[in-house]
């Protein structure tokens, strides 16, 4: 139940973020906007770490080095997104991003990259995925 709440809130924040980014993008360049939002987010997140006395960063050395750079992928994601928007517009870009994300996540979970509990995809799951993609296309175009 808590997980569902986090997932729904995550979606709410994502939509608020893209709305805010669109407004910020009218005044600033794309990279300035990305630097500003992530920079201020970083400062605030560090404050939270400090206030909550979270000392778990000491265990960061246990994490494989390249996992720690995951956040930096944002730059490639933003670049691809901007270029795709420019070339094809919002509808096609948004739906392609979401559909690729669904299949990539399914593939990774199926391959066991998230741990040994492997996802099972049966007929109802495939129908569910097809319905979700239909939904994404209907909402984007």
């Amino acid at each position: 139940m808590k997980g569902i709440l986090y997932a729904i809130l995550g979606g709410v924040f994502l939509t608020m973020q893209s709305t805010a980014n669109a407004a910020i993008g009218e005044k600033l360049g794309s990279w300035q906007a990305a630097t500003l939002t992530q920079g201020t987010g970083f400062v605030a997140a560090m404050l939270i770490v400090w206030i909550t006395k979270d000392r778990s960063w000491r265990k960061l050395s246990q994490v494989k080095l390249y996992y720690r750079f995951g956040g930096a992928l944002a730059a490639i994601i933003i670049f691809s997104n901007i270029t795709a928007f420019h070339l094809n517009g919002a509808a096609l870009t948004v739906s392609a991003v979401l559909i690729a994300q669904i299949f990539a996540t399914l593939g990774m979970e199926k391959a066991g990259w998230y741990g040994k509990r492997v996802l099972q995809l049966r007929m109802p799951q495939w129908i569910g995925i097809a319905l979700m993609i239909t939904g994404i296309l209907c909402l984007s175009f």
Binding site: Q17, L60, A100, I102, Y114, T134, G135
Partner: protein, 172 residues
């Protein structure tokens, strides 16, 4: 058109890769630290690319409304919620649920014209889209849940064997 589609597909896949990496970071450290690291890395990378692509222009900042400075707080909400959602629900269920919530919010705010958005009227196509999206999510999720009840519930969803010892102290 193809280039744009390929770039968009790549962006989507990289979002998934990022979610995986963040999840791996979160197996060792608390979600507050995970969020700070992810946003810090994003900040450095965006700053770097911005300077490379725009040169001196990048340092030319116009006057900004005050709220711009608080826009980063939304990023904290995004990263924290997604990391926790993946940990509690598993990646596929969480990702599809975040997506559904995102699309429903966008539709809702577009139809009401909130946040100064240009009002887009609700249409039959959108009604069908929302119905298909939710029905698909339920169908996907319903079966996963039924399966989970038979499987091992005592272990956190997203931990591999090696991680679970380290993680256990942070699972709340």
């Amino acid at each position: 058109m193809m280039v744009g589609v390929v770039l968009a597909l790549m962006a989507g896949m990289l979002v998934s890769v990022q979610t995986l990496f963040n999840n791996k970071v979160n197996t060792a450290v608390h979600s507050h630290t995970t969020t700070a690291l992810v946003l810090g890395m994003g900040f450095i990378a965006s700053l770097g690319v911005g300077v490379i692509m725009e040169g001196a222009d990048f340092f030319n900042w116009p006057a900004m409304p005050l709220w711009f400075w608080f826009s980063g707080l939304l990023g904290i909400g995004v990263v924290t919620c997604v990391v926790k959602g993946v940990r509690l629900l598993g990646p596929s269920t969480s990702t599809t649920m975040v997506m559904a919530s995102q699309l429903v919010c966008a539709l809702w705010w577009d139809s009401t014209g909130w946040f100064g958005l240009e009002q887009v009227p609700f249409s039959w196509q959108k009604a069908i889209g929302v119905t298909a999206l939710i029905a698909g999510l339920l169908l996907f999720k319903f079966q996963t849940q039924a399966k989970t009840s038979k499987a091992d519930l005592s272990k956190p969803l997203t931990n591999s064997a090696g991680d679970s010892k380290r993680r256990s102290e942070y699972v709340s």
